[in-house]
């Protein structure tokens, strides 16, 4: 067997028997460390982003044609309305279940190991939440690229800003998913119950699949307090290149508010849980 301690040279601070290589780290560095760790599996296995893309692509392929038939419009026009909503769906579904990873790591012990490391508790949450941006941007781009051959036209700058707004939302929603995981430790069923209970109402009441203008009043009231409906409105304007539309500001505010609330709640939950 080989030596477990380092032999001379490899440890610069080897003044005593134990080269105390651990040094104080800051919030930014800790966040970066957590972000890098969380992103590695994706970098090693890029195809794993396809997992949460299946559902949005099914909606695009199977629900889209029905929408064309029902509305009686042309394919390109319907896609112009429908694809931005699918992007929001990507952001919603991709980040909502991310807490399950933390739930699993809490059960196996790898979360515990990060709690014994000298990492800032806030960084443990923020680093994880920031990682959500990576798959989200890749998935959003794929959805748009799939829709373009069918006549969807997208403003490139609008797409970049649209994805940026979604990324801000995704950080917040991912943080909320982690908070839910921390609240449901040792009870996965509770996590999935809350997840399923909230996800579909949030989706339907955002107007991403069908317009809510024809729905009853109470639905419109519910949509008015659903941040996702503002996001859907903003994405429709941005992807069409209409930067001046009032909906854009509404979407940015909704994303920023979700992000702020999500990170605050998440950091609080992480601090309390450890």
């Amino acid at each position: 067997m080989n030596t477990i301690t380092s032999t001379a040279g490899s440890a610069p601070a080897a003044t005593d028997r134990h080269a105390a290589s651990a040094r104080p780290t800051g919030f930014v560095r800790d966040t970066a460390s957590v972000f890098v760790r969380e992103s590695r599996p994706l970098a090693r296995d890029p195809f794993s982003v396809m997992f949460s893309l299946v559902q949005p692509l099914v909606f695009l392929g199977l629900f889209g044609p029905l929408l064309v038939g029902a509305a009686g419009g042309d394919v390109a026009g319907t896609l112009q309305w429908f694809v931005p909503g699918i992007l929001v769906m990507v952001a919603l579904f991709g980040t909502a279940s991310t807490g399950a990873n933390l739930l699993f790591e809490m059960q196996t012990g790898s979360h515990e190991r990060t709690l014994v490391a000298p990492l800032s508790r806030s960084a443990l949450l923020v680093g994880r939440a920031l990682k959500e941006v990576v798959p989200l941007v890749i998935q959003g781009t794929i959805v748009v690229l799939v829709a373009v051959p069918f006549g969807f036209s997208v403003d490139p700058l609008g797409l970049v800003s649209g994805l940026a707004v979604l990324a801000v939302f995704g950080i917040g929603f991912g943080a909320l998913s982690y908070s839910l995981a921390l609240a449901c430790r040792n009870r996965d069923w509770m996590f999935w119950m809350v997840h399923q209970t909230l996800l579909f109402p949030l989706m339907i009441l955002s107007g991403m699949l069908l317009p809510l203008e024809d729905g009853p009043d109470w639905m419109q009231v519910a949509a008015a307090v659903n941040p996702l409906s503002y996001l859907v409105g903003a994405e429709r304007a941005l992807l069409a290149g209409d930067f001046g539309a009032p909906a854009v500001l509404g979407g940015i505010l909704a994303a920023a508010a979700t992000c702020a609330i999500g990170v605050l709640v998440g950091v609080r939950s992480m601090r309390r849980a450890s």
Partner: protein
């Protein structure tokens, strides 16, 4: 145990705890998981915490590693106070919990690199150290594989590598070999013993395997119902608390009863069982003396005591049975008060 007074700043002391207590609330009842535990572990010691499941071993460990705030009491670990300077404790210790440290979708080498960055190690230093640990813990074949594809023994060796990345002066191991097959257990212990031989790292571990505590630890603390009930070398515990077991078999029950009257011990039919110190020397003497008295011994055995005998002497219960019983039931973590 009487409260000891020791200078808490003594730098040869790796762990000093006084009156460490943890109370949980479980189903409306207050459970004292750890009751006023005093601990002293010197730099370089290998100490085993032995006791049945639910004795409070892991809870004590979790307090010492800053995972759980104590309800009462204080402790200094690797020179830092667990309440006032938890970050200082975390920087100096390594911890291998009951679970597996590696994330399932992570690759072995990536997890070691991540762990180095968690401890503020430089990129080059981390890489060199990771390579070193991969080699010494024989993880070369699995370095580029994901954690979920590893065997139980490989996962456990990765856990140890992860816990050692920053060269901690003190390593905590919580049930390191539980759930491993005998071969992997032996292999894991080879690595731990080798690590200690080379670095002198202080090791504090919990186990409910009697033979492990007996063979490997220099000092054994026996824990039961949240309290430390014995603390000494395995040899001294066995010598002072258990003694050797001698069984003598006779032609008939009358002989056995007559023999028991002469040398003491318990009779069961034709067999007499005696507990004696230095049993290997006592046995031939018994046979000779009893033979002189006309009581012929037809069969004899001599067995050295185990830590189970120590536990039995201390608590009236067998640890071996408790361990088997506890492994069958699923112990849920109670909620902290």
């Amino acid at each position: 145990m009487p409260r000891k007074t020791v200078d808490m700043t003594n730098h040869n002391q790796m762990i000093t705890a006084r009156g460490l207590t943890k109370t949980f609330r479980s189903k409306g009842q207050t459970v004292e998981a750890v009751r006023s535990v005093d601990l002293d572990v010197a730099d370089g010691e290998l100490v085993a915490f032995l006791g049945p499941n639910g004795a409070g071993k892991s809870t004590t460990l979790r307090m010492l590693t800053t995972l759980l705030p104590p309800t009462e009491g204080e402790a200094t670990v690797a020179g830092c106070d667990i309440r006032r300077d938890p970050a200082g404790v975390r920087r100096r210790i390594g911890y291998v919990g009951q679970g597996n440290s590696g994330g399932h979708t992570q690759r072995v080498r990536d997890e070691l690199h991540a762990q180095g960055s968690f401890y503020g190690m430089g990129r080059r230093e981390t890489r060199a150290r990771a390579d070193e640990l991969i080699e010494s813990l024989e993880l070369e074949q699995s370095a580029n594989r994901t954690v979920q594809s590893l065997s139980g023994g490989q996962k456990r060796r990765l856990d140890i590598a992860v816990g050692l990345i920053h060269r901690p002066e003190l390593l905590f191991l919580d049930e390191p070999s539980t759930g491993l097959d005998p071969h992997s257990r032996a292999n894991l212990w080879e690595h731990i013993v080798e690590l200690r031989r080379q670095t002198g790292t202080t090791i504090f571990l919990t186990t409910h395997y009697l033979d492990e505590a007996d063979q490997l630890a220099e000092r054994v603390m026996v824990m039961d119902h949240g309290a430390v009930i014995a603390d000494d070398t395995a040899w001294a515990l066995k010598e002072s608390l258990a003694g050797d077991r001698i069984t003598l078999e006779f032609e008939g029950a009358t002989d056995a009863a007559a023999a028991a009257a002469r040398i003491g011990g318990d009779t069961s039919g034709r067999v007499v069982t005696v507990t004696a110190r230095g049993g290997d020397r006592a046995l031939p003497r018994f046979i000779r003396d009893l033979g002189d008295a006309g009581l012929d011994v037809v069969a004899a055995t001599h067995r050295q005591p185990t830590l189970d005998d120590v536990f039995l002497a201390l608590t009236g219960r067998s640890l071996r049975e408790e361990a088997a019983h506890a492994e069958a039931s699923d112990a849920a973590e109670p909620v902290a008060v």
